[in-house]
C-alpha cells in the first residue's frame, strides 16, 4: 500500500475516532440517566407535587416552573436577539461601532452563568423590585441566551443570498419590507437553530435562576409572573446537595434529570420538525 493511502487512512481514522468519542459520550450520559431514572417515572411522579420533605411525591411544580422560565426566556430573547441581528447585519454601517457591539456580544457569551445570576439578582430582584419570581428568572435567562440567538440569527441572515435582497430592492420594494418579506423568512430555519440551542441552555441552567426565580420548595403553582417557581435543574441541585436525605432521594434526582433531558429533547424535536418543514419549501 502506498504511503499516501496510509496517510489518508490515518487521517480518516482520526476523524472517525473523534466523531465516535463524542457520540459515545452523549449516548453514555443519556443511557446512564435513563437507566437510573426510569424506575421512578410514573404518572404520579409527573403530575403530583413533592411531599414528605421532598423525599416522595412528584416533580410537577418543577416541570411547570422550567417550562415557564424557558418560554419566558425565549419570548424575551428571541425578538431582542433577532432584531439586534437584523440591525447588525442589515442596517448598521460596518465599522468600529459594529465591531465593538460584536465583541460585546461575544464577551456576553463568555460570561459565567453565575455572573448572570448575580446580575439578575442585582438588577431585577433588588433594584427593580420584581423580587425572586418568574419574570426576574426569565429576564436573566433571556440575557444569558441572547448571544447565542444573536450569533445564530446573524449567521442565518448572512446565509440569505445577496441576490434575493437585490431582486427585491430592484422591484422598488422598501428595505424594511425586503427584510420582512424575503430575508427573514429565508433566515428562519437558521434562527430556529439558534433558538433550539438557547432553549436547551435556558432549561438546563441552575446558577442564573438560583437567586432570581427558583424556590427551594413550593407546593402552590404560580398564579402570576411575580411568583416564585420550582425548576428542574435547581430541584436536582437541591436534592443532591442541600437536602437531609441525599442518598434516599437519588432515584428522584435521576428521575428529575431524566425529565429535564426529555423536556429539552422534546422541545428540540418539535423545533427541528418545524424547521425541516420550513426548509422543504425553501431551497436555493
Amino acid at each position: 500500500m502506498k504511503w499516501r493511502y496510509i496517510k489518508q487512512n490515518l487521517f480518516f481514522g482520526a476523524v472517525r475516532l473523534s466523531a465516535l468519542t463524542i457520540t459515545t459520550a452523549v449516548v453514555a450520559i443519556l443511557f446512564y440517566i435513563f437507566v437510573n431514572g426510569i424506575s421512578v417515572i410514573s404518572w404520579d411522579f409527573l403530575t403530583l407535587p413533592p411531599r414528605d420533605a421532598m423525599t416522595k411525591g412528584g416533580i410537577m411544580p418543577a416541570i411547570l416552573g422550567t417550562v415557564y422560565l424557558t418560554s419566558g426566556a425565549i419570548i424575551i430573547a428571541l425578538p431582542l436577539g433577532v432584531i439586534s441581528a437584523i440591525y447588525l447585519n442589515e442596517y448598521a454601517k460596518q465599522g468600529l461601532v459594529v465591531r465593538i457591539i460584536r465583541v460585546g456580544v461575544n464577551c456576553l457569551a463568555g460570561v459565567p452563568s453565575i455572573v448572570f445570576g448575580l446580575f439578575g439578582l442585582g438588577l431585577f430582584v433588588v433594584f427593580l423590585q420584581f423580587g425572586s419570581c418568574i419574570l426576574s428568572g426569565a429576564l436573566t435567562l433571556g440575557f444569558l441566551i441572547l448571544p447565542t440567538i444573536i450569533g445564530a440569527s446573524e449567521e442565518a441572515l448572512k446565509a440569505v443570498p445577496q441576490t434575493f435582497r437585490e431582486a427585491s430592492l430592484a422591484l422598488g420594494v422598501a428595505k424594511w419590507q425586503t427584510i420582512y418579506r424575503i430575508v427573514l423568512p429565508n433566515a428562519l430555519p437558521g434562527i430556529m437553530t439558534g433558538s433550539i440551542l438557547g432553549i436547551g441552555r435556558a432549561a438546563g441552567e441552575t446558577a442564573p435562576i438560583m437567586f432570581t426565580a427558583a424556590a427551594f420548595y413550593t407546593s402552590k403553582l404560580p398564579a402570576s409572573i411575580f411568583d416564585e417557581v420550582m425548576a428542574l435543574p435547581y430541584h436536582i441541585y437541591v436534592l443532591a446537595t442541600a437536602g437531609t436525605h441525599i442518598e434516599e432521594t437519588r432515584p428522584i434526582q435521576y428521575g428529575t434529570a431524566l425529565m429535564l433531558v426529555a423536556l429539552v429533547l422534546g422541545i428540540d424535536l418539535i423545533a427541528i420538525i418545524i424547521r425541516s418543514y420550513i426548509r422543504r419549501n425553501r431551497r436555493w
Binding site: R165, E166, A167, S168, A170, G172, V173, A174, R282, R283
Partner: protein, 256 residues
C-alpha cells in the same frame, strides 16, 4: 456622439462614480432614447455595469460609494435629496446577470412586488400574472405550473420569470445586466426575441459582453473603456464605421 432631442427618457450628465477612493466612472454624459434598446459594451471592469446600476440607484447599497453629476429621469435628477430611491426603482426595473427568482411559486414571484404596492384583488393579480408572463413569453410553458416553485425551472425559464416579475411592476425602463451570460444559446435566443418585442412598450438598457448580441438587438451602443464612455453611436455605425480607433480595436477583437 448621440444627442437625443425629443424622445429622451434618461439623461446622464457629467457623472463621476467612486467606490471609496477608486473612480469607477469618469465624466459620463449620455442620453437614452425612449422605446429603444441601448447596449453598453466594453471589457470587464470598464464601468458599464456600474453605470447601469446608477440608473435605478442600486449602487446606493454599496457602502462608501459616491456619485457626482446628474441622472435626469423625466426632468428630475434622481440623485436629488427629495427623491425616494424606492419610487425610482419601481419606474426603472432591473434584470440581473444570474437568474434570481425568490424561493416562492412562479405566481408569488410575480405578484410579490405588486402586492406590496397595494394590488390585492385576486382577479387583478391573476390578470397581472398572465399579462406579465405573456410579455415574458413564458405563459405557455408556465400557465399550468404557476403554483410550483420558480426554483424548479430551467435557467432560461428562471430568467424569464425574473423579467416577468420586473414587468409586473409596470416600469418605464428595464435595465438588463448581462441577462443571457448564464444561459445556453437557445434560452439566449428566446430572451433576445423577447427584448425585440419588449422595446415597443419599454425602454431597454442592456449591458452585454457579447458583441454579436449588441449588434443583433440594440439601436444604440455605447462603448466603455476604463470608466470612460469612448464612443456612443447608433449600433449600425459602431459596428461598421466607428468614429474612434479604440472602438474598432475592441469590436474586431484586437483587445478586450
Amino acid at each position: 456622439m448621440v444627442t437625443i432631442q425629443d424622445n429622451c427618457i434618461i439623461k446622464v450628465r457629467n457623472v463621476d462614480f467612486y467606490y471609496g477612493k477608486f473612480r469607477a466612472l469618469t465624466d459620463i454624459s449620455m442620453d437614452f432614447e425612449k422605446n429603444r434598446v441601448t447596449a453598453l459594451i466594453g471589457p470587464s471592469g470598464c464601468g458599464k455595469s456600474t453605470l447601469l446600476r446608477l440608473l435605478n440607484r442600486m449602487n446606493d447599497l454599496i457602502d462608501g460609494s459616491r456619485v457626482e453629476g446628474e441622472v435626469v429621469f423625466e426632468g428630475k435628477n434622481i440623485y436629488d435629496q427629495d427623491i425616494d430611491p424606492v419610487e425610482i426603482r419601481r419606474r426603472i426595473g432591473m434584470v440581473f446577470q444570474k437568474p434570481n427568482p425568490f424561493p416562492k411559486s412562479i405566481f408569488n414571484n410575480i405578484t410579490y412586488g405588486p402586492r406590496l404596492v397595494g394590488v390585492r384583488k385576486k382577479s387583478d393579480l391573476e390578470a397581472l400574472v398572465e399579462q406579465s408572463l405573456r410579455q415574458a413569453s413564458l405563459w405557455d410553458e408556465a400557465k399550468d405550473i404557476l403554483g410550483q416553485s420558480a426554483m424548479m425551472l430551467s435557467g432560461g425559464q428562471q430568467q424569464r420569470v425574473c423579467i416577468a416579475r420586473a414587468l409586473a411592476m409596470k416600469p418605464d425602463v428595464l435595465l438588463m445586466d448581462e441577462p443571457t451570460s448564464a444561459l445556453d444559446p437557445i434560452s439566449t435566443a428566446k430572451i433576445e426575441e423577447l427584448i425585440e418585442d419588449l422595446k415597443k412598450r419599454y425602454t431597454i438598457i442592456i449591458v452585454t459582453h457579447n458583441m454579436q448580441q449588441a449588434a443583433r438587438i440594440s439601436n444604440y451602443t455605447g462603448f466603455f473603456y476604463l470608466g470612460k464612455l469612448i464612443e456612443y453611436n447608433p449600433t449600425e455605425k459602431i459596428f461598421t464605421t466607428p468614429d474612434v480607433r479604440q472602438t474598432e480595436d475592441y469590436i474586431t477583437g484586437r483587445f478586450g
